[in-house]
């Protein structure tokens, strides 16, 4: 009995213990993996200016979309494509989407001599390239874009055995930067990170420009704060951060 009392007391304490203040305004944002570093910088800047805390959950757009369909409690969705926010709007789970960033797919390598040829196509022809990472072509829009480019130049089938599938575009970059693969299809934003600057990259002009759309989710409990953050996304301060991270 005594044990029971002790355990119950522990449960109650654990449930009630608030680690951070509840009074503070807070919004929860689902963020596509390519946008992590830009998002973090903007969230910190926004928080300093408005005292509204912005929490991010990072994954591939497809994964986050699945979570939202299943009732995940996000207030805002920063996707890496236009289709998924549009689908959410159609299912009346979200407000009308808007474009918050335009991104570009690149081929990045940690080895500088990888880029001493004319184009990414020549680079791929190099016999020494054994493994290439690409983000999941179904759930990660940057993976989809890279696949489209490879199909356009008729290399998709030929490269199958060399491709290593990453869950997100951030993971694809991680594989390349740790040298697990020789090069990886990444987002332009990754090449501008401190780690990214150590390597070299080719812009993949064959890949479609990536239109990244966002939407406010209808289930949000803190609409005023979310709208403020959405407004912030198009302010000069935010635009500056986006530009620094390779978006336009």
């Amino acid at each position: 009995m005594k044990k029971f009392v002790v355990i119950s007391a522990l449960i109650i304490t654990a449930w009630l213990m608030p680690l951070y203040s509840w009074a503070q305004d807070k919004i929860s944002v689902a963020v596509a993996a390519n946008f992590i570093s830009a998002f973090k910088e903007m969230a910190a800047d926004f928080e300093a200016k408005t005292k509204i805390k912005v929490d991010g959950t990072f994954s591939s757009s497809g994964n986050l979309y699945g979570q939202i369909i299943n009732g995940a409690p996000y207030d805002l969705f920063l996707s890496a494509d236009e289709e998924r926010p549009a689908k959410l709007k159609k299912d009346s789970l979200a407000d009308t989407p808007f474009i918050y960033a335009r991104g570009q797919a690149v081929l990045w390598s940690a080895k500088k001599d990888f880029c001493q040829v004319k184009s990414w196509l020549d680079a791929l022809k190099n016999e020494k390239i054994k493994k290439l990472s690409i983000a999941n072509t179904q759930t990660a829009p940057y993976g989809t874009a890279a696949k489209k480019a490879l199909e356009k130049v008729a290399l998709w089938n030929a490269l199958q055995e060399k491709l290593v599938i990453a869950q997100t575009v951030a993971q694809s970059f991680q594989y390349a930067s740790t040298g697990s693969v020789d090069a990886g299809f990444c987002a332009m934003s990754a090449t501008l990170s401190p780690e990214g600057k150590k390597g070299c990259f080719f812009v993949i002009h064959e890949a479609p420009e990536i239109m990244q759309a966002a939407c406010i989710l209808k289930r949000t409990a803190n609409r005023a704060a979310v709208e403020k953050f959405v407004e912030y996304l198009s302010l000069p301060a935010a635009k500056e951060i986006k530009r620094n991270h390779g978006y336009h």
């Binding site: 355990i7 449930w15 680690l19 959950t57 979570q67 299943n70 409690p73 951030a170």
Partner: protein
């Protein structure tokens, strides 16, 4: 360092352990002291979560707890919310995931109790319930603590199931193991290293505890 994720992990492990101890005791009792047709099938079913890949567990939990699943449906009708991506959701997942680790040591401890002790208790007029609380439980403390420690350790290590059921929502369902994974993915090795390092003393301490308990129970 991501204290919030560590806090969620410890809170989840604590709540899971507490609930499972209460839940597993009667189950272990029935497995240890009763005989019925098909018992081995029931027992195997209880241990199934140990034998299944976490993603298989995660898949079925998503189906059951999702808005269209029976549990998620009932919950939705009652509260209007979703069970997935909530702390309650990952608590349920964590409990199901650790059931075998709670039941097994407890059942073993119950089986080791001297039957004559129990028979004496019944002869002296104790009801089955009274005997459970006053003879069985006090005589299997080491087994119960072993259950608690195993469940606790198993819970702090859970990853795949929680990621599938809970997503990774800061302060709600982002546990330390997921925070480590994400930090590595973002190549924030310093953050990953700090959380990872904090696991070592916790796990080490509990392993020593469990070894001590084994020594005591075999003496």
């Amino acid at each position: 360092m991501d204290y919030l994720a560590l806090y969620i992990t410890l809170k989840l492990a604590l709540v899971t352990t507490a609930f499972l101890l209460i839940l597993a005791a009667p189950v272990a009792y029935f497995l240890a002291f009763t005989r019925f047709w098909g018992k081995s099938f029931v027992e195997a079913l209880i241990y199934l979560p140990m034998a299944l890949p976490p993603t298989v567990m995660g898949f079925y939990l998503i189906i059951i707890m999702g808005p269209k699943g029976w549990l998620g449906g009932i919950w939705g009708a009652l509260t209007g919310g979703s069970l997935l991506f909530t702390f309650l959701g990952i608590t349920i997942a964590s409990i199901v995931y650790s059931i075998p680790f709670a039941v097994q040591p407890m059942k073993a401890a119950f089986l080791k109790i001297d039957r004559r002790l129990l028979e004496n208790a019944y002869i002296l007029g104790l009801s089955k319930r009274a005997a459970f609380f006053r003879v069985i439980i006090p005589n299997s403390v080491s087994g119960i603590v072993a259950s608690a420690v195993l469940v606790f350790l198993h819970s702090i290590g859970a990853f795949g199931v929680l990621l599938m059921v809970g997503g990774s929502i800061p302060g709600v369902t982002r546990v330390a193991s997921i925070a480590i994974y994400e930090a590595v993915e973002m190549m924030n090795y310093e953050a990953a290293g700090l959380i990872a390092l904090s696991f070592i003393p916790i796990s080490y301490f509990f392993l020593i505890l469990i070894n001590k308990l084994h020594e005591v129970s075999f003496r």
